[in-house]
Amino acid sequence: MGEQVMEQEKKISIFGAIKNAVRLIYQADKRFVWFSIYKNTTEGIFNALKAIYLIKFIYECIQNGVDFEKLFWMVSVFCIIHIIIHLTSAYHSYCLKISEMKVYRYIFSGIIEKAKKIPVSQYENPKFYDKFSRALDQQMLRGIWGMIFATLGIGDICGGLVAVFMLANVDVVLILFAILPVLGSLYLGLRESREEFMARQDETFGNRKMEYAKRVFYEKKYASELRLYQMAKVMFRVHKEGYTERYEKNRVHYRKIGLYRILETMLFVGLVTLGSYLYIAYRLKVAGSTAVAAYIAMIAAVGYVVNSVNGAIENFSQSGKRCMYMQYITEFMECEEEKEEDFEEKGQELPVEKSTEKRTDDMSAAKAGADAGNILPVGDIRFESVSYHYAGSERLILDHLNLHVKQGEHVALVGENGAGKTTFVKLLMGLYPLSEGKINVGGKNIKSYPPEAYHDFFGTVFQDFQIFSLPLCENVWMRTPESEKEREKITEALKKAQFAEVLQKMPSGIDTYLTKEFEENGFVCSGGEAQKIAIARVFAKDPEIVILDEPSSALDPISEYHMYQNMMEASKGKTVFFISHRMSSARLADRILFLENGTIVEDGSHDELMRKNGRYAEMFRMQAKNYQDSH
């Protein structure tokens, strides 16, 4: 794992990352980038002048015993410029607070745009998670600091150049004493930051172990099991392995870093201090120069050049560190496009215009498109030799599946765990790209629909539905209700989903905020309540095709009964697919598909399949046995 990540990382040089990040920020807030460059270069140049030119001036005044007044004016001029510099700097820190938000907003819009386009299968790929989700979880604002550090580095270089120029003015030979350590620092500094980068990379694995173990101990969901079993011991071991590994890996790298630093110090003291002092002593004592003040001031200048370069290196490496994180964001926004291309382009071939305004517009546009091409209703679904396997895996989850479902049919998908039921519905909804075959919905290949409009055909409750930290009404409507009518619809949907009783107890009705994430008195749902909200979404959306993936697993029998009753009633005339492990619910369907190893092995109504006495009948009886014996 560690190695792989490293390989990917190596492809981007630090400067490449800085370039990308600065470009991103430039797109978000041009003025702030220019302002940062201006502020940091003027500051760099002024500081160099103040540290070298002014000091040289003061020393010369004292050596030559000039008028105090002359000194006074020079110092005053510098102080006035200094105040202007301070004002600029303060204004910059003010602007930063606003610019940070602008940049964040810009990145956020990019993420959303992208997230809508990336296929779901991509999200479920563990590499995607490793690479992006972890990175995107990081502070978004590192990039702006990366840019600031980069401009600080530029300022340092400017300051260094000023210092070199002044050295040349006094004695060209002195530049030698600055150039050599600078070259040394450059070389060692690069080695050092590379080493540091490798240390970071090498310890990610150990770090992850530590973080994971910590999480296991702090999260409540693990607490009971840890107390009943001895699993804590294993987790202690994982944690210890984590930090021991980090220690070992870091030790190797930091030994080298330490050596580089000693070398750097030696180079600095040896050449800058020892060399230049000896040279100056020689010039003044042996060669007979009398410019003591100028030469003394130049000692500071030699140091200034070296420090500027070191500062620039440090600033660029700080910048690089921050921009590396941004790299993932840039990648997230760019590289995924290819995989989507296929899907996108075909969508655009369609005469249907992609409307982004309102869902209803979208729907009617798509419907119009569908109607124009074919008279078949949307609920008419045809699978033609559909296969699916996960990327990099040979095993077919769905194996050349053929199926025709007519508008208004209620279809139950039944089968053992892993038979391909969930994959079936995900393919139908266009969440996964097909490996083979095609699916026609309303007589048209699903690839020919604009994805957004296509997704609008469906109302779905997933096994792993999510509750959002938003008001209840938005959690049901999945957008902001805009009229009283819409709000009524939401209440109605919640009632149908058996949520009425809970709703009455809620302080602000459907405006009650869910989860305690942001609101102290937010409402925290139990598993059953959350499921009811998820079901209410389908009622509220009133979609063309309803898909229920084990919607009742967290409900008690009474709630389950009512839920199905309402659901079936509300979706009369609509095509419904549902997956349930409770055979009693499957029985409610017009048609039952029994899946095994990615194919349909039995297909028919409950009665037909019971008569057939095959796999379905066996499974049904197995579950029914206990209920039937009692009478």
């Binding site: 105040i83 607070k97 995107l136 530590m210 870093i257 002593a281 053992e416 409770r582 029914a624």
Partner: protein, 646 residues
Amino acid sequence: MKMKDINKKETKKEKISVFRILSNYAYLLRYAGKKDALLIYGIFFSFLVGGVGYACMDTVFLRAFINYLSGDAYSFRETAVLIVTATTLMAVLMSITRCAESFTRPRMIRLVGMMQEEMIHKVVDMDLMYYDCDSYYDDFVVTASQLEEMVEMAVYDLGRMGSNVMTVLVLSGLITTINPVIVIFPVLGFLINLFSRFRIIKLEYDYYVKRETLMRRADYSKRVFYQPEYAKEIKLSHIEIPLEKQFHAAIDETIEIGKYYGVRISLWSVVNWVTVFTILSGFCVPLYLGYLALVRRSIGLGEVAALDNAQGTVRNRLDSVNYCVDRIQRAGLFCEKFRIFMDYESRIEHKRGECEIPRQREVLRLRDISFRYDGAKHDTLKHISMEIRPGEKVALVGENGAGKSTLVKLLMRLYDVTDGSIEYGGRDIKAYDTDAYREVFGSVFQDYQIYAASLEENVLMDELEAVPVNAGQETEEIHFNDGDVDAGKNEPETAGQKKVIAALCKGGFFKRLQTLPAGLSTPLTREFMENGVNLSGGETQKVAISRVFAKNPQIAILDEPSSALDPRAEYELNHNIMKYLSDTSVIFISHRLSTTKDADRIYMFEKGEIVEDGTHEELMALNGKYAEMFELQAKYYKENEEILLL
């Protein structure tokens, strides 16, 4: 320490005295010192030495050098000797500090790791009720996540502080020997800085706190768009619209706050910079030195250079001291939490009891127990009495939220009852060692978890070495549910492995085990192993169930053990439970009444109370709640009857 005490302390957080902060700080350092004293002393030493080195470089040495050069009193040779001696000394002193940070870093990582290790040990020792406490997350998760940063800060900053103080002392000595007046400027600058910085820090802190709250909202909206679990909903709905709205509202507000605080912070910064850096350091000092040298003619060029550098360095170092004090304060505040946490004593976990736990199976009896969660307004359980005899199969049924899951947690002493008592073998369970008492139980919790460890460990739920390998014990034959499969690569090597394989078979996992690349040692989850296996919902549940079979406890508690299983797997599981846990007392919680029908006794729960109890036949005859629920479920399973379709 009780939770309430901690809560009280928390609210007082703002008022922690300086003394307490210092004492906390010392506590943290002592704690670190106990783990790796050499590291701590090493860091302090190198920083102190470095402080002296830097102090001398641009002042004492520079002054001597200028004086050597200025007059004709010294020859080139003498000057060269001075230069060589001084630079050698500098090089040594500076190298020590330069490399100290690199050499100590890995040891620091280990030190923090060791401290964290003690912390997580402490976490498992905490009573479960702690997790229900709201401030728990805020406090202790933060403590854990900041430990690394804080320990580093505490140690390095004290070193830096020592180094700075050292430099200031050396230079003040130098300045005083030449002209004491010069000291006034950096000290005055330091005081002004201290005052204005205090204001700025306060403003920045307020800004930060407000901004964090808003940013959490923005971050949440952002997170939804790349976390895999949300991906499907994002695709299929328009939930991005309200999320976007929430995001933009948060950003707008943050900008407003940024403007408000930005103006104030910038103004104070300008006041600070102009007075300290421009007026005092940039204007007064050079002019005063110029006045002394040019008008009064009391000092020479060497003194001017040395004094100018010295006062600049003193000011910088005092600044750093100021900065360090701020950070030390933060570390001290942080440590308050760390300290309370480390001093915490549990009431349930690892409690020693006065009695030995009985070896044979015993009766578990609940005498009129009630339970209320800390801070809750109502009892979750009210006056529950029941008796579970060895080998008995008991079912707890009822609607969501009726208190069933809470009850089983009480049985395992994860919480203590509020009223009444639980007895095992005729004694109150508080009389036993908590650890020994819990050994009696094997359990599948409703929210069972898979751990990032090998499959074998996930079933044993223990370190592998810790399992005694007594081959004689496990004599029963392994029954492979899937017919004549070849054990192949899963040929058990140790008695422990044999036990695990047997348990996995009983849990219905054997077929999947066959497909796992590394058999029992397959790492689970991709948490940190690239080749880790992520199990599906049903598979996960099967592993969780296997744990109970592997532990072979005296009392098994199964909370909705088949919720994620398909009908066949559920059927087989029920079969296996009856077959292999025949001597074990089993407590089931289930919604599916078919699975609980054969229980020796069924308890129907409603709102924390037992409303009906008896065998299935008795309850059906009673024709109450249970019968209603059962009929409702059974209805659709009656093969030959017409269903009244809705």
